[in-house]
């Protein structure tokens, strides 16, 4: 798509990302970790399976971060690289990774904000390296999906709409 910043990652990238996230999970005792891209899509998820709709969560996370970015600019900051939302029992900590994705840690009283903040910082640095390496391979346009430009696709969609 012209103008859109598309990126893709390979199975090996995904394995490395998951390893970093699993390590963070073990070290901090957070409930779960989500990696969400800035357009609101879930990229990865480790730990306890969320009881909520991850897609809705991702769309709100991206919006939350984008809104806060604008607020940061208004007060003369370049960005807020991390956000913390505190609840009575459940809390969440969000951190920017390479300006493209957001790492979200969901945690309760089995760990502390200090621990989460400290360990997330290291993981963000590691993930940033992984993503920057991925992006440095070049903004190759996403591979075309075979057969999607054909007339049969229209027929299939017509059938789905009934």
């Amino acid at each position: 798509m012209p103008g859109a910043s598309s990126w893709s990652f390979k199975e090996e990238d995904f394995r490395i990302i998951s390893e970093h996230m699993n390590a963070l999970l073990r070290e901090t005792n957070v409930k779960s970790l989500l990696l969400v891209d800035r357009t609101g899509q879930v990229v990865a998820n480790v730990g306890e399976k969320p009881t909520f709709d991850p897609q809705a969560f991702a769309s709100l996370t991206a919006a939350d971060f984008s809104a806060n970015d604008q607020l940061a600019k208004m007060i003369g900051e370049h960005e807020f690289s991390s956000l913390f939302h505190q609840g009575e029992k459940e809390s969440m900590y969000l951190a920017d990774v390479a300006h493209r994705v957001i790492l979200v840690a969901l945690f309760d009283n089995r760990t502390t904000l200090g621990m989460v903040r400290l360990k997330v910082k290291t993981t963000v640095e590691e993930l940033t390296k992984v993503f920057e390496e991925m992006f440095s391979r070049g903004e190759t346009s996403a591979p075309k999906l075979e057969g999607f430009a054909s007339a049969e696709v229209e027929d299939e969609i017509d059938k789905l709409f009934g």
Binding site: M1, G40, Q70, K144, V153, L160
Partner: protein, 225 residues
Amino acid sequence: MSMINYASREINCKLVYYGPGLGGKTTNLEHVFGKVNPNARGKLISLATETERTLFFDFLPVDLGTVRGFKTRFHLYTVPGQVYYNASRKLILKGVDGVVFVADSQLERMEANIESMQNLYDNMAEYGYDLTRIPFVVQYNKRDLPNASPVKDLQAQLNPGWPVTDPALQKAVPDPNFPGEFLTWQLPTGEWIQRAPAHEAVAVTGDGVFETLKTVSKLVLKSLG
């Protein structure tokens, strides 16, 4: 920016419903939410004011079904229509795969439509997106109202078309929604013009809502090929 998972054969695309305030963007999503099988859709999330005006966005994920062996899911978003909320409106366009412009057909809303369309072009341009090159559909809503402008006038004001420079696309394409009209045509001067597909709708009753979604879905999925 669509998200394609080749391993699990899933496609996720982002569609944004844009347009002036009180034009029917949220009503489009509410109709889809009400009609789609609950197993094939998520919750409708609305970030709205107490008076049900969209403050930030509405969000509805919908499973379209399987296309060419890929499980296809569309994430439908609306933006706040009121001029005041431009900062948040622009954020929602990030990574968009297809745009539906919901115009309010009422005569007295023509100015608001034009202003919103201009705002859409401006906000897209700021992200480096070219509205003439991405899937884009116009919906003329509220066709049931007595003060609705003729479609011809709405098309002339909001969807006059853009020049086609690619010789491969310079061929007449009839408009399936408006008999006798064309989506791509040649002017007497020799210049070729293309316009976005358009639908008439009455979102409160659901007329034209799924037709619009179908048209933009086709354009988005074909753009992946």
